[in-house]
């Protein structure tokens, strides 16, 4: 075994990640080679310095509390839809890891549908408020928000600022409904945030409905489905719906 080969394996050797026969050959080389021994000893010293002195950041106390309270709110919002919308997930056939799943989320036809959709929309709304993640792009300028989505989605959502009408645009983000990426536009009215979810495809409209303290209205136009969710009062939310419907193609 030559010096180059030892240099290449000195880290897995230090980390005890080598097969026993490789370990034996490295040890044999180290016994007879001062240069490699020096390299090895220095690296070993450095690793122990890192282990002893690199800072381990422990979670602040309030974090566990926030997480517990987030979970209870989320569980409450998601309760009735779980068997429907997530049934396929429990079957696990397509499940490799959470990471690959999250990476592979993409905008696919058709958009979310099925019995659990309303619950899912409300859960997405609650989540955006809880995780302090209302917007990925924060801007009241529709010419900033609209281009932000291009390149992330293969659709271009209609984006209109309604400041003059009393519903200023706050920004936008990507959200996930039924494991598909959808557009979420955020508006505000008298300090009440409104999530306007948009995805391609037509679906039967639902009249305004109230669940868990939130109001929701859903409709389709121009080949897109829109759903507005907010704790705003029903009259104002319907007012908002009319304004969006008028401005969208």
């Amino acid at each position: 075994m030559g010096c180059d080969a030892v240099a290449a394996e000195v880290h897995p050797y230090l980390d005890d990640q080598l097969e026993p026969d490789r370990v034996g050959r490295i040890q044999e080389h180290l016994r007879g080679c001062a240069a490699c021994t020096q390299l090895y000893e220095r690296q070993r010293a450095m690793n122990s310095v890192i282990r002893q002195h690199a800072h381990y950041y422990t979670a602040p106390k309030h974090l566990a509390r926030s997480i517990r309270s987030n979970l209870r709110t989320l569980a409450e919002a998601e309760r009735p839809r779980r068997r429907n919308a997530w049934g396929w997930f429990a079957s696990g056939a397509a499940f490799a890891s959470a990471a690959t799943l999250a990476v592979s989320l993409s905008l696919l036809q058709p958009g979310p549908r099925g019995g659990g959709l309303e619950q899912e929309l409300i859960a997405a709304h609650v989540r955006s408020l809880m995780a302090n993640h209302l917007t990925d792009v924060a801007s009241s300028d529709q010419h900033t928000v609209k281009p932000w989505f291009s390149g992330k989605l293969d659709m271009s959502p209609p984006v209109t600022d309604l400041t003059a009408e009393g519903y200023p645009l706050v920004g936008g983000r990507l959200d996930y409904l039924d494991q598909r990426a959808v557009v979420a536009l955020v508006y505000r009215h008298n300090q009440h945030p409104i999530n306007l979810f948009v995805w391609p495809g037509d679906a039967a409209a639902t009249p305004l409905l109230a669940r868990q303290g939130y109001n929701l209205v859903r409709w389709s136009q121009g080949g897109m489905t829109f759903a507005a969710v907010s704790d705003l009062n029903p009259a104002d939310l319907q007012d908002f719906q009319k304004l969006i419907a008028r401005s969208a193609p």
Partner: protein, 190 residues
Amino acid sequence: MTEQARVRRFEQLAVPHLDAAYNLARWLTRNDADADDVVQEAFLRAFRFLDGFRGGSERAWLLTIVRHTCYSWLQQNRPAEVVAGYDLEAGDLDAASLDPSFRPPLAGPDPEIALLHQADEDLLNEMIAELPPQFREVVILRELEDLSYKEIAEIAAIPIGTVMSRLARARKALQRAWARRRTEEARHGV
């Protein structure tokens, strides 16, 4: 399973690894408040993915989600940091060669090792924080979480060989920079 039971199951599974989650997020975002946000979001995601957890290491499963959430966050908020990391893949963090400052076999103990051991925590932590995130994370997962190469490969979604080479490059870079700083300080009598 009722929702309450799901929440309890998730808490039993995930909360014991909250420190590991926070430590990784804090090292990747390099900021307390951002780490806080990212961990909260990651735990919500993990809760939604709970039915997909097939056993194995809970910590590795959770760290996979935390790491992914961190990178989404970085890409959104500080895209330059993530991209810059790839430039170093084959560049100046190269560790696959012997130390060019090689000296003849030593009679006594290597003086550099004594210097290495004079710890300066702030300097060390700064140096680690300055590594590109793709290198920083393997150092943190290996040295602070004591994970195997295989576990790190799964969490970071890279081959084991890449774990090995990134870890080697990162440590080598740290060791050289550390030794250089310690030597300078010793020379100037700091």
